[in-house]
């Protein structure tokens, strides 16, 4: 039972910390910083299932986030759906789409797969920029009136924040549950050696399609929340390839294949970026700093932060995942 494991309670503690910290003294400044951290953690935990477990490099994972944003925002603004229904519908629609895409491109392996995910993201972006019902390249602007059912913008931003923290928690639990399951073992086997896994009876095509679709669901909902909060959505923001690659960086930084790593990496990366951006000395060099950091990890510590922690304190392995 998952509830008995100590790591589940660590996840619960992280979520509780995210929920409580900004509420103390109504610290909205902290909340705004944690919003982005929660988005990064959600994206990184989900990409980790396909990248870290199954060993497939998805450069275009942001397509789920963007499409989810578009579905939800469009349902709310053009069809007056309530937030919750629009979010769930967005998540389901994007997962279904991912299944269709996945059945096509998951026949590819290695670099071929990685390149095709870029193609999917760019193709979808170019399509949406021409797609009239979603406003084409102008995108969709939301009226502040849409915040009213949640009690006005001030309260709505709190509601959005708690929902995002919830999605982040679900992402961590999902990532953990998958890793502990037979399904997860199958994915890890695929990551080690796909042909051998198939020989051992792992239904590789089905598993890959499921994990691809599964890793789309929560990012799509997070996208809905994020763009509802921004009050507008446009193709270049929704399908930002840079955010997509950053997600991979974050997962690597923390340690791919572990559950806690991507979350740790996402949190540290976001706080570092936030600090670099507002620091007068480094604001022009934040890309350089991010690049040097990443290069150092890839070359000298491919296990990421979790790899380093495990090496320093091997006993951590007994309760961290």
């Amino acid at each position: 039972m998952i509830l008995r494991r100590p790591f589940f309670w660590i996840i619960a503690a992280i979520v509780a910390a995210f929920a409580i910290a900004p509420a103390i003294g109504d610290n909205i400044e902290l909340r705004e910083s944690l919003v982005l951290a929660a988005v990064y953690i959600t994206l990184a935990s989900n990409i980790n299932m396909i990248l870290g477990y199954a060993g497939y490099v998805n450069f275009g994972s942001i397509v789920f986030f963007g499409l989810g944003g578009y579905f939800s925002v469009w349902l709310m603004s053009a069809h007056a759906w309530p937030l919750a229904a629009a979010l769930v519908a967005g998540g389901v629609a994007v997962s279904a789409l991912a299944l269709v895409f996945g059945l096509g491109i998951l026949r590819l392996r290695g670099v071929y797969f990685a390149l095709s995910t870029i193609g999917v993201n760019e193709g979808v972006m170019a399509f949406v920029a021409n797609f009239g019902p979603w406003g084409g390249s102008t995108g969709i602007y939301l009226s502040p009136a849409l915040f009213q059912p949640l009690g006005g913008p001030a309260k709505a931003l709190w509601v959005i924040y708690y929902l995002l923290v919830g999605i982040m928690g679900l992402s961590l639990v999902l990532s953990y549950a998958v890793k502990r399951s037979k399904f997860g073992l199958g994915l890890l086997a695929i990551g080690q050696n796909e042909d051998a896994a198939a020989l051992l009876g792992v239904p590789t095509p089905r598993y890959k399609a499921i994990v691809y679709s599964l890793s789309a669901f929560l990012p799509a909902i997070a996208g809905g929340l994020y763009f509802f909060k921004s009050a507008y959505i446009q193709p270049p923001d929704a399908f930002d390839l840079q955010l997509s690659t950053e997600t991979i960086v974050v997962a690597m930084l923390g340690g791919q294949g572990t559950v806690a790593g991507p979350a740790l990496g996402a949190f540290l990366y976001e706080e570092l970026r936030g600090w670099l951006l507002t620091s007068p000395t480094f604001s022009h060099f934040q890309l350089v700093v991010a690049g040097v950091l990443l290069l150092a990890i890839v070359l000298f510590a491919p296990g990421g932060l979790m790899g380093l922690l495990y090496r320093l304190w091997p006993r951590l392995r007994s309760f961290l995942e």
Binding site: G104, A114, G123, V288, V289, G291
Partner: protein
């Protein structure tokens, strides 16, 4: 009718230059299974090298070509030892990330120095007219030089000892090592060549279009599309695919709104990846009796 012809011819001229850039990616991939994500940054480096050489040092525009070629090669060799050598033979993710990291650093430094302003290399050559349509001399020259460089590369790979060593490593690294080829040095050489091709393509593009530090992304994506159409690891395929893509663009623009070209291109890209991952040229090869 004349318009269509002009459009196709223009597409072919510029497609050849995109093909040249793609040859850089594909050469590196073929030899060491690494997708070079510094490609876009090196294209931009070639552009700015041309800009600085012409603007500050007064070098004639086309005389910058050998300088950019040599400089690109040296930078490429340096980049190999810095970021690629340690991840050779590891899962593809590692080299993707290490080259991506270098790309971040280069783009970051570029924006710190030049900002995101626009730059233009003043280049003008007499063009050639077909009715009301004009083919600028710079486009003709770029396509011509692309042909020369492609031929030189072909000669190098197939006619020289060093080139043969590169191809041997590309075919089978272990076997090449067994017969005494210093693989690491050959890999560095190939990486240098790939980067040199990217930066020369950048220099040629700079003679045709203005650019910014961030122009690299668009050209890098284009190079990926061309590389995949031509088949990863196949330099001839890349050149042919570049020209073919230019042809397709030239054929479609007169009839389809331009904003849809990208959609068509990326659909083509994904479909080719899934159905003929070896590139379009394999379609022709399969027809031969086995």
């Amino acid at each position: 009718m004349l318009g269509l012809l002009a459009s196709i011819l223009d597409g072919v001229l510029i497609g050849a230059v995109y093909g040249l850039a793609a040859m850089g990616i594909t050469l590196i991939w073929g030899v060491m299974d690494v997708v070079n994500l510094t490609h876009g940054a090196m294209i931009v480096a070639g552009m700015f090298a041309a800009y600085v050489l012409v603007g500050a040092a007064g070098v004639p525009v086309y005389a910058t070509l050998p300088i950019v070629l040599a400089g690109g090669f040296l930078v490429g060799v340096g980049l190999y030892w810095l970021s690629v050598h340690r991840v050779i033979g590891q899962p593809p993710l590692m080299s993707l990330l290490s080259t991506f990291a270098v790309n971040l650093v280069l783009v970051g430094l570029g924006t710190a120095v030049w900002g995101t302003d626009l730059f233009n290399v003043p280049a003008s050559l007499p063009g050639f007219s077909l009715g009301r349509y004009t083919f600028p001399g710079t486009h003709l020259m770029a396509a011509l030089l692309t042909g020369v460089i492609a031929l030189a590369l072909y000669f190098f790979l197939y006619r020289t000892r060093l080139g043969k060593a590169v191809r041997a490593v590309s075919n089978n690294r272990e076997a090449a090592e067994l017969v005494g080829i210093p693989t690491a040095r050959v890999l560095a050489l190939a990486f240098g060549l790939g980067v040199a091709l990217a930066s020369v393509a950048g220099m040629l593009i700079a003679t045709m279009f203005p650019f910014t530090v961030l122009s690299g992304d668009a050209y890098q994506l284009k190079s990926f599309v061309v590389t995949v159409l031509g088949g990863l690891g196949n330099p001839t395929g890349a050149l042919v695919a570049g020209i073919a893509l230019g042809l397709v663009e030239g054929l479609t623009t007169p009839f389809v709104p331009v904003s849809w070209t990208l959609v068509i291109e990326f659909i083509l890209f994904v479909v080719v990846l899934i159905t003929v991952p070896g590139g379009l040229l394999t379609l022709f090869r399969r027809r031969r009796p086995a």
